[in-house]
């Protein structure tokens, strides 16, 4: 019956991994609901950004305290996961600390020692993060969009980290053969005395329990990601890779509009010509976005990547002056609506059944959209290259071109441009008058 734990372990691994694969599939399907956008240029610059911004966290450290703490947690997270590799092998083959039979004791000890030190670093940072969120109550974690689930989500993940790190240390502390080696137990040797009264057998049970909870915890964590802002630990990489490389001020020119404008300006085109046969049944292209399907896949990837850190919102001039607009909320709304659409598709055997809702109005209001100054402060601030402004602009395009629903003053300004080539009601013929005035 010695192999029962191995089988149980394999089952846990398959269930955990299977669910994770299913989540990833839904994620990819949902992102692909967005419009096509081809991004194949500048591969080397994109890799450079991925290494600097995603891996190197160059934008995180713009705020040094949070940046430093985050790097500790992040490095800890990645490196301690090397230990998971050993756990998986041990679990599947019934070995114990397989690393010891492959590596010299000193090397193995060095590895575990660094994991233990990092685990303490992670614990300290996570506690600091918790204090920032719950006791110091940093302003950017208190906005309207951070009530309810987003608030719990932020804390849950911190508790998770604390538990996982503690389990890892307890597992080492109660492993008497490992303690006997006296190599690598830099931290756990101080925890071991806490368990000194226990019999060898009890100690073993504690060690096994910690071991099991640790690996099960990691599997649960993996599957929690899909429902959490913590998706960014995976998506930050593709998101930064595909991030905008052109100047921040450069907005895309809508190609469908270009076609129509060219046609209108072309003196040889017959305005009354019947549309070509093939076009008769074509759905006319919708300008701008009123729902998530009208956004590009990159906008949707952005939404899933958002860490809800609120750096964008805290730099936003509209938000700082009390307007409803919050670029973080734009990203969270887009993600929440996308999840809703995804669930709808799942519930209806793979097709979306209109639910009478959309991103515009049901999630993001016109008041928010019209408060934006297009200043790019949010884009500049985002540590993972998200572009909230692009979504705002796509939605403005819908409002103006599909619904003619701009504020009156803007309509007035636009008709001035149309009629006399300036946003004010001056005569085009007076455009050079300034040169004559003294």
């Amino acid at each position: 019956m010695d192999f029962i734990p191995n089988i149980l372990f394999a089952i846990a691994l398959i269930i955990g991994g299977g669910y994770f694969a299913k989540n990833v599939k839904s994620l990819i399907r949902n992102i692909k609901l967005g419009r096509d956008q081809e991004i194949k240029d500048n591969k080397s610059e994109r890799w450079k950004n991925t290494i600097n911004i995603a891996l190197g966290q160059s934008k995180m450290v713009k705020r040094p305290i949070a940046g430093f703490l985050h790097i500790v947690v992040y490095v800890g997270f990645i490196i301690i996961n090397i230990e998971v590799l050993e756990i998986i092998i041990d679990g599947l083959f019934g070995t114990h600390r397989i690393g010891l039979s492959i590596l010299p004791v000193s090397v193995y000890g060095f590895l575990i020692a660094s994991f233990e030190i990092l685990a303490v670093g992670v614990l300290v940072s996570v506690i600091a993060f918790w204090i920032r969120r719950n006791i110091i109550k940093l302003k950017r974690f208190l906005s309207a969009e951070m009530k309810g689930w987003p608030k719990s989500d932020g804390n849950i993940i911190l508790y998770f980290e604390v538990v996982l790190m503690c389990l890892f240390l307890i597992m080492n502390a109660t492993d008497s053969s490992f303690q006997a080696l006296d190599s690598g137990n830099v931290i756990s040797q101080f925890i071991a005395p806490l368990f000194s009264g226990l019999s060898e057998a009890t100690l073993h049970v504690v060690e096994r329990t910690a071991w099991w909870l640790h690996i099960l915890g990691i599997l649960v964590f993996l599957n929690y990601l899909y429902f959490s802002k913590h998706l960014h630990i995976l998506l930050a990489f593709p998101n930064v890779y595909y991030g905008k490389l052109t100047p921040q001020g450069q907005f895309t020119n809508n190609e469908a509009v270009t076609k129509e404008v060219k046609l209108m300006m072309d003196p040889t085109a017959d305005p009354f010509a019947a549309p070509a046969e093939a076009d008769a049944n074509a759905v006319p292209e919708k300008f701008g976005a009123s729902d998530v399907q009208d956004l590009s896949w990159l906008n949707l990837l952005n939404a899933y990547t958002c860490t809800e850190c609120g750096r964008c919102t805290s730099e936003c001039p509209a938000n700082q002056t009390g307007k409803k607009l919050s670029p973080r909320k734009i990203m969270m709304d887009t993600r929440d609506r996308l999840t809703e659409v995804g669930n709808n598709i799942d519930a209806n055997k793979g097709t979306f059944v209109p639910d009478g809702k959309q991103l515009l109005n049901d999630y993001i209001t016109k008041e928010e959209l019209w408060a934006c100054t297009s200043c790019n402060a949010c884009v500049e601030a985002c540590p993972v290259s998200i572009d909230p402004l692009n979504i705002i602009m796509e939605m403005r395009r819908y409002l103006v071109m599909e619904e003619s629903a701009a504020p009156t003053e803007l309509n007035y300004m636009m008709s001035n441009i149309e009629n006399n080539g300036a946003p004010w009601p001056y005569n085009q013929q007076d455009r050079l008058n300034w040169a004559q005035e003294n």
């Binding site: 052109t246 100047p247 921040q248 001020g249 450069q250 020119n253 809508n254 509009v257 270009t258 404008v261 209108m264 300006m265 701008g288 730099e315 001039p317 509209a318 700082q320 002056t321 009390g322 307007k323 019209w370 408060a371 100054t373 297009s374 200043c375 790019n376 402060a377 884009v379 500049e380 601030a381 602009m393 939605m395 403005r396 395009r397 819908y398 103006v400 071109m401 701009a406 504020p407 003053e409 803007l410 300004m413 636009m414 441009i417 149309e418 080539g421 300036a422 946003p423 004010w424 085009q428 013929q429 007076d430 455009r431 050079l432 008058n433 300034w434 040169a435 004559q436 005035e437 003294n438």
Partner: protein
């Protein structure tokens, strides 16, 4: 500036079969807005001083369509762009300078996709170039002991990463340059962009231009310098709101340099 300015148009250049060194894109604000016209004239004075062979489009110039684009009217933007590009290409324009960062950004970044590719520079970049090539020198030191703080226009700074040219140019004066706490990439918007200049702000606790003016006031300046006609209006209004117009002036970089000629 009581003497009449000589402002040649492209049509005149064409008639004589000549090409100017550079086209000065005046922009709608620079053409019609009373405050912005002063910036336009100061820049023209500067161009004359540096003996730059320049021209304007005059009545053939039309709004770039930038504001239309930022408020979501892609149709209107592209109509304006195509019209302007036709004229610019018709004259064989290669190089364009403008005092408006919005026109600068729009023509530089968004016109190429519609068939209009030019070397577009902001006037602070051009003034810097004129200094570097020795075509322009400051004669009068009017700014000794003055404190100047520069407000980065979003569409020059963050949008196009030009933070140094205006500062280098201001550095030619003997004024003391001070920086606001948030400057360059973290500069706060003046509140005019994205069409806000033309509408009432949404309900909130204060106006953006007042918040930005407060940033500037903390540096205790004599002059708030800008490089954008819209920023200029916003900051001027902010200074008035703070009742500081008696002690602080808002000036464009071009105006500051023109005064020292």
């Amino acid at each position: 500036m009581s003497e009449q300015l000589k402002v040649p148009t492209m049509a005149e250049f064409m008639a004589e079969g000549k090409q100017p060194e550079i086209l000065f894109w005046v922009g709608s604000a620079g053409s019609y807005d009373d405050r912005a016209k002063k910036i336009t004239k100061a820049f023209v004075k500067l161009l004359h001083e540096a003996k730059v062979d320049f021209a304007v489009l005059g009545t053939e110039e039309s709004a770039t369509g930038d504001i239309a684009k930022r408020v979501g009217n892609e149709f209107l933007f592209q109509m304006q762009a195509v019209m302007n590009i036709e004229i610019l290409n018709g004259y064989g324009i290669k190089r364009i300078v403008t005092c408006d960062p919005h026109s600068f950004n729009c023509i530089k970044n968004e016109y190429p996709g519609l068939g209009g590719t030019y070397d577009v520079i902001h006037h602070t970049q051009y003034i810097k170039e004129l200094f570097e090539t020795g075509r322009l020198t400051l004669k009068e030191d009017k700014f000794k002991g003055k404190r100047i703080t520069f407000h980065d226009p979003c569409y020059l700074g963050r949008a196009n990463k030009e933070y140094d040219a205006p500062r280098d140019v201001l550095g030619k004066t003997s004024a003391t340059l001070t920086e606001m706490k948030r400057h360059k990439s973290t500069a706060l918007c003046c509140g005019a962009g994205g069409g806000q200049m033309f509408k009432e702000p949404e309900p909130g606790t204060m106006d953006i231009n007042v918040l930005r003016t407060e940033d500037a006031l903390k540096t205790n300046p004599d002059i708030i310098a800008t490089g954008c006609p819209y920023c200029n209006t916003m900051m001027t209004d902010g200074v008035k709101y703070k009742e500081k117009e008696g002690s602080i002036v808002v000036k464009d970089v071009a105006e500051i340099i023109a005064e020292g000629l």
